[in-house]
Amino acid sequence: MLSNSLLLAVREIRRNALRSFLTILGIVIGVAAVIVMVTLGEGATLQVRRQIEGLGSNLLIVVPGQRMGPGMRQDAPAFALEDIEALRRSVPALAAVAPAVTQSATAIVGNRNWSTSVTGSDNSYLQARAWTLAAGRAFTEGELRAGKAVCLLGDTVRRELFGRQDPLGQRVRLTKLSCEVIGLLQPKGQSGMGRDQDDLVLLPLRTVQRRLSGNQDVAVIYLSVHAERSMQRAKADVEHLLRERRHISASEEDNFSVRDMREIASMLTGTTQVLTALLGAVASVSLLVGGIGIMNIMLVSVTERTREIGIRLAIGAREREVLSQFLVEAVVLSSFGGLLGILLALAASLLLARVLQVPFVLNLGIIGLAFLFSAAVGILFGFFPARRAARLDPIEALRRE
């Protein structure tokens, strides 16, 4: 009986192919929208997580001052090189301690120029921020101590200044400083916050302090914690040491802050997940709208086929047999819409993932859910018209033209 109903439903749908297609368009779009939103949202979440991991594993970032609110910072003294030495000496949990001073500068080679950020640090920066060299070499002890004019280029800067030429051994002018390119950094791509991480030039700390910033300050300290050590413990040790060194009494607040990148990572991925859920919910509204379209067309269909229903009832069809016939038709219609929606969604997400440069994450769960939901929409919105058909009076129905 069910296979028969299915056959009948498919035939009835094919008879009104255009009308059926327009009817299910709402479902198609609804299902596609839900799947695309969730797929892209999960892709974005994955990307954020990956890129934050790419910043450096077990990374702590120490900056002077406390964040007071959006955009506001407490005025606090910068760190000094002695702080770096103390951290290296006294906190054994730290694998790398990298001081950093960052300035924006225009890099010039021949007639090409590129506005970028210049960071002064040492080789532990590479370790803490998980940079690897694509070519050339890192700084030597001598270069670091003497503050030599040598630099490592990020991939974006290399591309913009040198194109296809080999930059190694060439000179780059940074404002009034001319330095030799000794190494190239492996590209990392965009950060979770949308910043191009490869847009940087790395110099010895002393070089930047002397020739560009003009003071002895260390603006940021990047810390890499040994994988087997507790991040919490390391963070507490660092805070303790810095409070001591900065002469902060027990009653005073820190005038610096230590940020755990993993906390920031979970916060950011949490945000994208909430956004994904929200967009998915908005998209599912269109599924409901599609359901109303199905109900509408099923009511029209029942009216058009009143005589057919009368004949079936006279021949001996019971109420529930007529009910199931129309219900099956509605469900076949809406699930077919669901299937089309899934195909559309796969194509659209593949395309959009490429355009938006977000990884494509196939979530079979959400696809299954969207399909079940579309079938449920058919049952929900097909029931009322089907019941109307089943309850027709056969005598009245047969008389209708």
Partner: protein, 242 residues
């Protein structure tokens, strides 16, 4: 369920009334109809329009329930049955032929005839064989794949008769089966119905307002103003028209 009771009468109407509507708008369609039909009879129900003959047919066909009085089909009280029980009774014991044929459009003759067997859960291969046999019995074996739109009125009515016969029902109810046909086609259909009545012993009740069609029946019941006015044998199934 379909066991024959002792009384012998297949169909028994006793003091059946039918009122449509309520209060001031109420219309008394039947005012106490008594009618008894035995297995194998061929009965014509005649009467002017508004006489109540269609209501009699609807009640006999279990499409409608009497307001009062008793309708026994094979001894079972149809008036006490639910909508679904009546549907099952129609499915298993009754066949219908309508004035307007009432075939499913855009559906082949074969599938139209198969339709009642689908509700009887007959397996598809057997269903097909029985439907083809029923079409052969009405002389439309070669028209099985044609849709109603491709058939003449007389052929459509034959398909409808095949559909009524295919379940081998106890009773076939025909509501003005020749009403939409010209005289020659009408006589063909009547001859077919009578031969089926004789050859297969199918009880046949039909409404008509044409005396020459009623003459095919062995018995004519005249209905007037909601009552049986006259109920007479025609002297056996007539051969007058042959």
């Amino acid at each position: 369920m379909l066991a024959e009771p002792g009384s012998g009468a297949l169909i028994e109407l006793m003091a059946v009334t039918k009122v449509y509507g309520q209060g001031a708008a109420a219309v008394q369609a039947l005012r106490g109809v008594d009618l008894s039909i035995a297995t194998g009879e061929m009965v014509a129900v005649m009467g002017p329009s508004g006489s109540g003959k269609s209501t009699v047919m609807n009640i006999l066909g279990c499409l409608d329930a009497p307001t009062s009085g008793t309708y026994r089909f094979r001894g079972m009280d149809v008036g006490a049955m639910s909508r679904d029980e009546r549907a099952l009774l129609r499915r298993h014991a009754l066949g219908f032929v309508f004035q307007g044929f009432n075939l499913l459009s855009r559906t082949s003759a074969l599938e139209n005839v198969e339709l009642p067997l689908i509700y009887r859960r007959v397996h598809s291969s057997e269903r097909r064989a029985r439907a083809l046999a029923a079409l052969a019995a009405v002389g439309l074996r070669d028209w099985a794949q044609h849709t109603p739109a491709e058939l003449s009125g007389g052929q459509q009515q034959r398909v409808a008769i095949a559909r009524a016969l295919v379940t081998e029902p106890a009773v076939v109810l025909a509501d003005e089966p020749t009403g939409n046909l010209d005289s020659a086609r009408g006589h063909e259909i009547m001859a077919l119905l009578r031969s089926l009545n004789r050859a297969r012993g199918i009880t046949l009740v039909m409404i008509t307002h044409e005396p020459e069609m009623a003459a095919y029946a062995g018995r004519v019941v005249h209905v007037l103003d909601g009552l049986v006015e006259r109920d007479a044998a025609t002297g056996g199934p007539s051969d007058a028209e042959q």
